[in-house]
């Protein structure tokens, strides 16, 4: 009886997902062919909500299958295990290809439904057509999911225990990392739908940009948090002290992030001044294209090797077809309709607008460079040129100068007025920031014996932070009244922009300091032995065994003596029954000057009781993650500010 009830859930899931496909298809058709009829547009909106409900049910059913450890379902058998802790059983639902694609569909339908529920002051045509395009996006994703990676497919014969999730992924950060990234990726589909709707309408005015901004901000904020969380996870889980490696999978999320950041800024120009509308449309199309490309790169197996992709090319080719359809429709419509969009209004070479144009230049060219660097090895291999690698040396040499240019101009932007700016006045106000930045430059040059890269990097970080604070200060100087009152009534938009820009500066400081000044060493230590490292003394106290819920571990306890006293820290190697490779659980002791980071290696062969221990000192590494949080907070506050404005309007 129990078996039969379980046996139904997967089939109901597949049925509900198929129902969502039909509803989305109807949503697409009705929304696009709204024919000036309020009733048709309202029907498309209702269909969007129904489709989202169906996707939600399908996704909930998949989670149920994971909770029940129903190993007759192929995805559950391949990615779960009866001994797995509850939270990871749930997270296992999206910690695999098929489940994550269903999540993609769910988010796409959900965003479509939310968009359909809040019409605001959008014209009927724009609103209805955006719902229509968004419906078709969901249709594409659902077709792919149902026909090429069905999460509800059965397995016969079913195994008894399941093969288990990759133990590296058994981690709280990794439980929320994929949903955040997917909300970011799929979040870019709404700007895409809005862009296509505007092209069909032949109008991209300020009301259009106002509708675009919150969705771009949602996507950007989610991508910021998702990438930051992934980076933090890599830092404490992979056990080598690094946080970013220009890995193609990282690049796949970084490219849409860069374009989303550009779009956040260009949409402001379009909303405020009506300029750059056609560029904003182009960015929205490219942003979603890169999000789809990211999905393709990560999900097709093409990254391992072109040959691995060729073994089972069906899924990869399907994503490429979806990408081709989306970009073909986008660029085709753009080429046809963009010339008919309204004439832009003018602005001077020194103005808020021109600074935002340079911002877009830096971010868009950086995204292009990352794109070429990421796919270049694939192209060379596909063309028979053999295997090459494009890694950190290429990206650091090309992206860092672009970001440096961007950051050099950044604090000037908020100081300049729209249309025509006063560069002298802006620079005068920024004098304290300029002085601080130059002091940082010279001091770092002297202290590092003339290492230019870290000196320039730290200078830029200080320039951004100080510039952001000065902007906040000048805004607080305006008007009369007590400072405390002015802090309260300062518009949220000012806070959000300043926080995001200061966050970029804090992140820069951390990234530069960590990259340039990290120290590492590897030693063999027996219990009782110690080593002097980074101004501390690290002593291995003992090594023992512990048991976790589904793993056993070797745990080493250390004592760290520093000038302000002793502390203890421990590091583990975990052995999962389901995986041959042990995972590291590093010991991190955060201090004012950065992290002391200890990774336990293997027992030294041929010696009694000595263990390899790798020690890292990562200066200011916390700044990286604090910077990410500040930037995401800026994005979130900006959303609140837009929501308030909409409510007030």
């Amino acid at each position: 009886m129990e078996g039969r009830r379980q046996a139904m859930i997967a089939e109901i899931g597949a049925f509900v997902a198929a129902l969502a496909l039909a509803l989305s298809l109807a949503q697409g058709g009705l929304g696009l062919a709204y024919a000036n009829s309020e009733a048709r547009a309202a029907a498309a909106a209702a269909l969007a909500q129904a489709a989202a409900l169906c996707c939600a049910i399908a996704f909930a059913l998949l989670i149920t299958l994971f909770l029940q450890s129903d190993f007759t379902v192929a995805v559950v058998a391949a990615n779960s295990h009866i001994d797995k802790p509850l939270i990871y059983k749930i997270a296992g639902a999206w910690g695999n290809h098929e489940g994550s694609m269903l999540l993609w569909c769910f988010v796409s339908a959900l965003f479509g439904a939310i968009f359909a529920s809040v019409r605001g002051k959008q014209s009927l045509g724009l609103w209805s057509r955006t719902i229509g395009v968004q419906g078709l996006v969901t249709v594409g994703a659902l077709i792919y999911t149902l026909f090429l990676s069905n999460p509800f497919a059965r397995l016969d014969p079913a195994p008894f225990v399941g093969s288990g999730l990759n133990p590296l992924l058994q981690d709280p950060a990794l439980a929320v990392h994929p949903p955040l990234l997917y909300m970011g990726y799929v979040g870019m589909s709404v700007p895409f739908s809005l862009a296509l709707a505007a092209l069909i309408e032949g109008r991209a005015d300020q009301a259009w940009a106002r509708a675009l901004r919150p969705w771009t901000l949602i996507a950007w904020t989610c991508l910021t948090l998702g990438i930051g969380l992934g980076s933090y996870w890599a830092y404490y889980e992979l056990g080598w002290g690094g946080w970013w490696f220009w890995d193609p999978v990282e690049n796949a999320s970084f490219m849409p992030w860069l374009v989303a950041a550009a779009l956040v800024h260009s949409a402001i120009v379009t909303e405020r001044r009506g300029s750059l509308a056609s560029w904003t449309i182009l960015l929205a199309i490219m942003g979603f294209g890169l999000a789809l490309l990211g999905t393709f790169l990560v999900r097709s197996g093409v990254l391992t090797s072109v040959h691995a992709f060729a073994v089972d090319p069906k899924r990869g080719i399907a994503v490429l077809i979806l990408l081709g359809v989306a970009l073909g429709a986008g660029f085709g419509l753009y080429a046809w309709r963009a010339p008919k969009l309204a004439q832009p209004s003018g602005f001077a070479a020194v103005s808020r607008e021109s600074m935002l144009v340079w911002n877009n230049f830096g971010l868009a060219v950086a995204a292009g460079v990352v794109l070429i660097g990421t796919i270049y090895p694939l192209l060379v291999e596909a063309l028979g040129g053999g295997l090459i690698s494009v890694g950190p040396p290429f990206f650091n040499a090309t992206v860092a100068p672009l970001l440096a240019m961007l950051f050099l101009l950044l604090p000037l932007g908020p100081m300049l007025t729209w249309r025509v700016g006063d560069i002298r006045g802006a620079l005068l106000k920024l004098v304290p920031a300029i002085v601080l930045a130059l002091i940082t430059l010279i001091a770092t040059l002297v202290l590092t014996q003339w290492r230019a890269a870290p000196a320039l990097g730290l200078m830029l970080g200080v320039w951004l932070v100080a510039g952001g604070l000065i902007y906040l200060w000048t805004r607080l100087q305006r008007g009369t009244g007590k400072l405390s009152t002015k802090i309260v009534i300062l518009p949220l938009a000012v806070w959000s922009m300043s926080l995001a820009h200061i966050g970029a500066g804090v992140l820069t400081l951390g990234a530069v300091a960590e990259t340039a000044f990290r120290t590492e060493t590897a030693v063999a230590l027996a219990p009782g032995e110690g080593v002097a490292f980074a101004g501390r003394r690290v002593t291995l106290l003992d090594v023992g065994s512990t048991e976790g819920p589904n793993y056993s571990a070797t745990r080493a306890n250390f004592r760290v003596d520093q000038t302000n006293g002793a502390s203890s820290v421990s590091a583990e190697r975990r052995y999962f029954t389901t995986s041959p490779m042990p995972t590291t659980e590093v010991g991190i002791l955060s201090g004012f000057d950065g992290d002391l980071y200890l990774a336990l290696g293997e027992q030294v062969r041929g010696s009694e009781g000595a263990w390899t221990v790798r020690l890292y000192h990562n200066p200011l590494v916390q700044f990286i993650f604090i910077g990410v949080i500040l930037m995401a907070l800026g994005g979130a506050l900006s959303l609140v500010s837009l929501a308030r404005k909409r409510a007030a309007a």
């Binding site: 193609p248 832009p344 460079v369 040396p393 590897a522």
Partner: protein, 131 residues
């Protein structure tokens, strides 16, 4: 005996006494790709071969090779694939030229946009909340 040394080297990259040389070695560790792993530098990998390769980097430094000579050494032994910094040649010139081309295209687009806007009418209305 030499086998034991090699195994030890695999587990512990025997650090060089000279800190400047060890810093050079660690920088190279980040540029050289572990040939067995999925997209990892030898600095990061726990695979045995990565340990051997790290030891090899230090061996070459001790033998007095320059960074460029060490890159060439690894390239001869394992192919272009082993270097995260792709060499500049007939296959990769487009990669290294791409940033310049993209930047140039962007600049051209900005200049063209300015020319167009200069011709366009100026209609400035100050927005609320902004000067």
């Amino acid at each position: 005996m030499s086998l034991v040394v090699l195994l030890l080297a695999a587990a512990t990259p025997a650090a060089i006494g000279d800190p400047a040389q060890e810093t050079r070695a660690q920088a190279l560790d980040l540029e050289i790709r572990c040939v067995q792993c999925e997209n990892e530098p030898i600095a990061q990998s726990t695979a045995e071969i990565a340990g051997d390769m790290r030891a090899l980097v230090r061996e070459r430094i001790a033998a007095g090779d320059s960074d460029e000579e060490i890159r060439a050494f690894f390239r001869r032994r394992y192919g272009d694939y082993v270097l995260f910094r792709p060499p500049f040649d007939a296959r990769t010139w487009a990669l290294w030229a791409a940033p310049l081309l993209l930047g140039g295209a962007g600049l051209a687009a900005i200049l063209a946009g300015r020319r167009r806007r200069r011709a366009a009418a100026v209609d400035f209305v100050p927005e609320e909340g902004e000067r």
